[in-house]
């Protein structure tokens, strides 16, 4: 599948516009902490860029282009009345920043990383962090993202407004933490980015995936914090998954499991990038969960590309992961790998041990794995029951249909 030229022009224009927008929001709100004011100042200019650049081409200096429009369109009516109503200090400050930024000779400094640390600050509700980053760093609207989080655009909008008010009122600093603080402050930033991805990975019919956007955010972190192995590990992990996206659905939208995917559809460039990043991240040994999860993805890819069975490697990687970041999901995935090695009874015992965990009760992969292993062991009734629960947990028609077929195979 090749993208048409207008589509490519559109996607390039959008990329540049969003990069520039995020840089400007981070810069303009840096001192006042008033994200809403910065977004407000740039809103018209950003929309104009998204509309015009695909046709006219991207300007030589996108930041300057946006700033010029923003000043021309907003500054006047801004200074006049609206501002006076809502306490104008911050807006004046942002307006001053707008003028100052336009006069910068060396270009706008990239403070998006500091902005991301503010978005994932411990004082911000964990559920609001991911949408906040998607909006302030990439310029996505509440309407763009609300379906993915299964809330209404209005509710999403209110949550974002509240989170921004919190950043402003509590004077949450726009700062990249120092070395010693980084080990506790970086994980929530990475977790928020990964949440955008896993939300995008979850199949919900009709809700646009946020995979590209999550990868984009991770790229920003990697480029501005190149010495951090976990940021690279996360980016690699998402690229491995993203490279396979088009092969996860068959022609009729049906779900295709990993080992039956058509590897010719995999994006080799993305896989290569992922391998390179994983290699760099692991230069000093694997130190974090994302690097290990990326290594597991690397092993799956190698096997599917004809490297032979490597399930024992996968199991030992899950053992390492279980030590540094234990979770029922790790135990579950390890059990699936065990079953693929032929140790089905041991796998089922591990899965049985998870059955009391409330986090597994509505976790589709748990029921699907349980069903498959029971089916392989000839436990037909248990397999059918587990498939039935899995079908009831689906969000997409493709997955539902796949599981229905698996179940009917046992019954026939």
């Amino acid at each position: 599948m090749t993208d048409s030229e207008p589509a490519m022009a559109r996607s390039l224009a959008e990329k540049v516009a969003r990069e520039s927008y995020g840089r400007l929001v981070a810069y303009l709100s840096g001192r006042s902490g008033d994200l809403a004011a910065a977004e407000d100042a740039l809103a018209d200019a950003f929309l104009a860029a998204l509309e015009k650049w695909p046709d006219t081409g991207v300007p030589d200096n996108p930041d300057a282009w946006l700033l010029t429009i923003a000043r021309r369109r907003r500054l006047d009516d801004w200074r006049k009345e609206k501002v006076r109503e809502r306490g104008a200090d911050h807006l004046d400050l942002v307006a001053d920043e707008l003028s100052a930024a336009a006069d910068l000779d060396e270009g706008i400094p990239d403070r998006r990383l500091a902005l991301m640390f503010a978005c994932a600050h411990p004082s911000i509700d964990a559920a609001a962090r991911t949408p906040l980053m998607l909006q302030t760093v990439l310029g996505l609207t509440a309407i763009d993202i609300s379906a993915r989080f299964l809330v209404s655009p209005k509710t999403m909008g209110q949550r974002l407004v509240r989170a921004k008010a919190r950043i402003r009122d509590e004077r949450i600093p726009f700062l990249v933490p120092e070395r010693e603080e980084l080990s506790t402050r970086l994980p929530p930033v990475l977790a928020s980015i990964y949440a955008a991805y896993t939300n995008g990975w979850m199949e919900i019919d009709g809700a646009k995936a946020l995979g590209h956007e999550a990868i984009w955010l991770a790229r920003v972190v990697v480029s501005l914090l190149p010495q951090e192995p976990e940021a690279k590990g996360l980016l690699a992990l998402m690229l491995y998954a993203e490279a396979r996206r088009s092969s996860r659905q068959g022609r009729d939208g049906e779900f295709v499991p990993l080992d039956q995917q058509d590897v010719r559809l995999w994006d080799r460039a993305q896989l290569q990038m992922a391998e390179g990043l994983l290699h760099e991240a692991n230069a000093n040994g694997p130190t974090g969960r994302y690097q290990i999860e990326a290594a597991i993805q690397s092993a799956h890819v190698a096997r599917c590309l004809g490297g032979g069975s490597n399930w024992h490697t996968v199991v030992s990687l899950y053992d390492v992961l279980g030590k540094i970041a234990p979770s029922p999901v790790v135990t579950l995935n390890r059990a699936v790998a065990l079953a693929r090695m032929g140790h089905r009874d041991a796998a089922l015992a591990d899965i049985d041990a998870l059955s009391g965990d409330a986090r597994m009760a509505d976790y589709l992969p748990y029921w699907a794995a349980r069903a498959q292993i029971c089916a392989d062991l000839g436990k037909r009734t248990e397999a059918v029951d587990a498939f039935t629960v899995a079908i009831g947990l689906c969000w997409s028609e493709g997955e539902r249909r796949y599981l229905e077929e698996q179940r009917s195979r046992i019954l026939s």
């Binding site: 409330a358 009760a361 629960v389 079908i391 539902r400 229905e404």
Partner: protein
């Protein structure tokens, strides 16, 4: 908190569904209920008969009127409900999005007023 998931759908469309498709839909609804029960959020469910058997009763200004259903101008009719117990509206929405009925109709998510909210 208890939420009612109200399943609305166009009854005429429902009657036009082929029997084998209908059997599949029913199977999906059964699976959905199993999932709700396993997750320990299920309270109750019922399906309603066609709104053509319904009556609409009003007692207003001393006048009683009884009309046959359905409401002529409603595009979708209430066809059933689930009552679930989850922590908040986000969780309720997640379950609503999983409801197979959302693929052919719409699922309205309403919080059920708690007894404590009547006090004072």
């Amino acid at each position: 908190m208890r939420y009612m998931l109200m399943l609305h759908a166009n009854e005429a469309d429902g009657q036009a569904v082929a029997p084998q498709d209908m059997a599949r839909f029913m199977g999906q609804m059964y699976a959905y209920q199993q999932a709700l029960e396993k997750a320990a959020v299920f309270i109750s469910t019922d399906a309603l008969v066609s709104s053509s058997e319904a009556s609409i009763v009003r007692v207003k200004g001393g006048e009683v009127s009884v009309l046959d259903g359905p409401y002529a101008d409603a595009r979708e009719q209430l066809g059933g409900y689930f009552i679930i117990d989850v922590v908040n509206i986000d969780e309720a929405n997640k379950w609503a999005a999983r409801c197979p009925a959302a693929t052919w109709g719409s699922v309205e998510v309403r919080r059920i007023r708690d007894r404590s909210e009547y006090a004072g």
